[in-house]
Symmetry: C2
Subunit: 307 residues, 2 copies
């Protein structure tokens, strides 16, 4: 059994390769829900949706999020009613949020709803939210705490980043199945996701960090930082903001408590020594997932590293 | 000041003529909300939306409901998640329901939300829901009570209609402004709407029937039944079901407690005697609103009848 800790776009692209190498039935993905937020009263789970849409072949590959060729008529009308429109939600995409919100209001848990959605999308891997409770990732800035989506999407990281707060994490519990999956996994992969807000948010849920620390399976991480910059997203600003070096070394430091093997890009081959000085064996490979064959090769390399 | 009691399509078309004859600022429409129902957890107010969309020039004239040229991508995706699709909601239309539901959950009343929506749609007439409380029109059938939308849209009136129940009406109050508008109106028009479920639902809200009975303004009704059949909708089945004659005479009987003048179609000229026997002066005119000029002429005739 393989467990993958996942954020959004980077994780989803990594999973596209992984499902070509091992059957979906062997995979449990534990997904960041710290970016979840209500828009127009609808519960949006960006990273869960990115993972589901990507694996279901629905994703808008260019953006990395949303449904391919989606239209935006509902949002256009919503803005006519005075609503904000900085977080783009397509018409087909909105069905996911409407359905999820309806089931949440009926008393179902996010984990139950996610499981139902992925089945309807024809996926047979298990997708677990990190928690059924609300954990809201906020960025500490000079003008106060800002929800991650507002910081990232609305303000495009314009505010100085001084720290991260996972509001609600203290009272949150790992979703049913999360701790058992980590405990029982032969292999635990940390996808090339933002270590501060995506994986960091998962680690903020009490019990998950300890479960990783105690896990008997091999834990392998893929660095999302290549050549001193993230492939996508604001990981550089966030790492800098928490005083972490923006490099594969910085990523390894985020995970050093439990990491067994680090996988870094060829362009960062000179960092092997620094990471191995942390006591973490390091593998150098091509981590740029430019097409499906690159994704498959990365998955194969990572699985070999784990065995 | 003119008050109009309104259901959906017939009322909206009548109002299209009325707003050509008097300024919107002089008109208060009291709209049936007994047909309201949640779909996918979203609060849909069919008659309010038909009235708003029609007057805002957004209506799909052919159907009489929904927004012209609307797409249905959200619903297609919702059905992929196992949802029913018998009540068609277009993408632009859904924005109305999403926005309304969001504001309801934030604690705003249906009256406040309706007022906000009609302003955003550029309307300057006042649109009041009959009540801020939920009144759910149900049809009594051999297999039990069925919500009106299910009876009408889902089952297309297939069940034998044995009666109408307005669930929640006993505890409902007229929305703020409804009783005052009736009291202060010079003219009260009952649109050519279904007397049993549309106007009947409005009359089921405690206080409204009495206010009409005591109103000092002239009360004029336009018959929605022409030549023994409704122009649109299931009024014939519903009138029969409650033991009422399916004719302009039957309509007049529904309103006899408070009606001052009845307006009927030329094709029903032979019914004048029967209606006047009820003590209700009757005017014969063309009530078929085939185009805008017919709507304007009907509005002019009705206003003349009221003065």
């Amino acid at each position: 059994m393989i467990v993958v800790l996942a954020g959004g776009v980077g994780a989803a692209r990594f999973l596209q390769g992984l499902v070509q190498v091992v059957s979906q039935e062997q995979i449990t993905v534990i997904v960041n829900t710290g970016d979840d937020r209500e828009f127009y009263g609808l519960h949006v789970s960006p990273d869960i949706d990115i993972v589901m849409y990507t694996l279901a072949g629905l994703i808008d590959e260019k953006n990395g999020w949303g449904i391919i060729n989606d239209t935006h008529y509902t949002m256009q009308q919503l803005t006519q009613y005075g609503n904000e429109d900085w977080f783009t939600l397509g018409d087909r995409d909105l069905a996911t949020h409407i359905h999820r919100t309806n089931l949440l209001r009926q008393g179902k848990t996010l984990a139950e709803i996610t499981d139902e959605l992925r089945r309807h999308l024809g996926l047979s891997l298990r997708i677990l939210p990190m928690s059924d409770q609300i954990v809201a990732t906020h960025i500490q800035t000079p003008r106060g705490l800002i929800h991650f989506e507002e910081y990232f999407v609305k303000h495009q990281c314009a505010d100085e980043m001084q720290g991260v707060v996972f509001i609600g994490a203290d009272a949150a519990k790992p979703a049913p199945g999360v701790l058992d999956a980590i405990k029982q996994a032969d292999t635990i992969l940390i996808a090339p996701s933002n270590p501060i807000v995506s994986i960091g948010s998962i680690l903020s849920v009490p019990g998950i960090h300890d479960a990783l620390h105690e896990a008997s399976g091999m834990i392998v991480a893929v660095s999302p930082i290549v050549g001193g910059a993230p492939i996508k997203g604001p990981a550089d600003k966030l790492m800098k903001g928490v005083g972490q070096e923006v490099s594969a070394v910085g990523v390894a430091r985020c995970y050093r408590d439990f990491l067994d093997v680090m996988v870094i890009d060829e362009r960062d081959a000179d960092l092997v020594g620094a990471i191995e000085d942390l006591g973490i064996p390091t593998i150098v490979t091509n981590t740029i997932m430019s097409d499906l064959s690159a994704k498959v090769e990365l998955a194969q390399t990572v699985l070999r590293a784990a065995s």
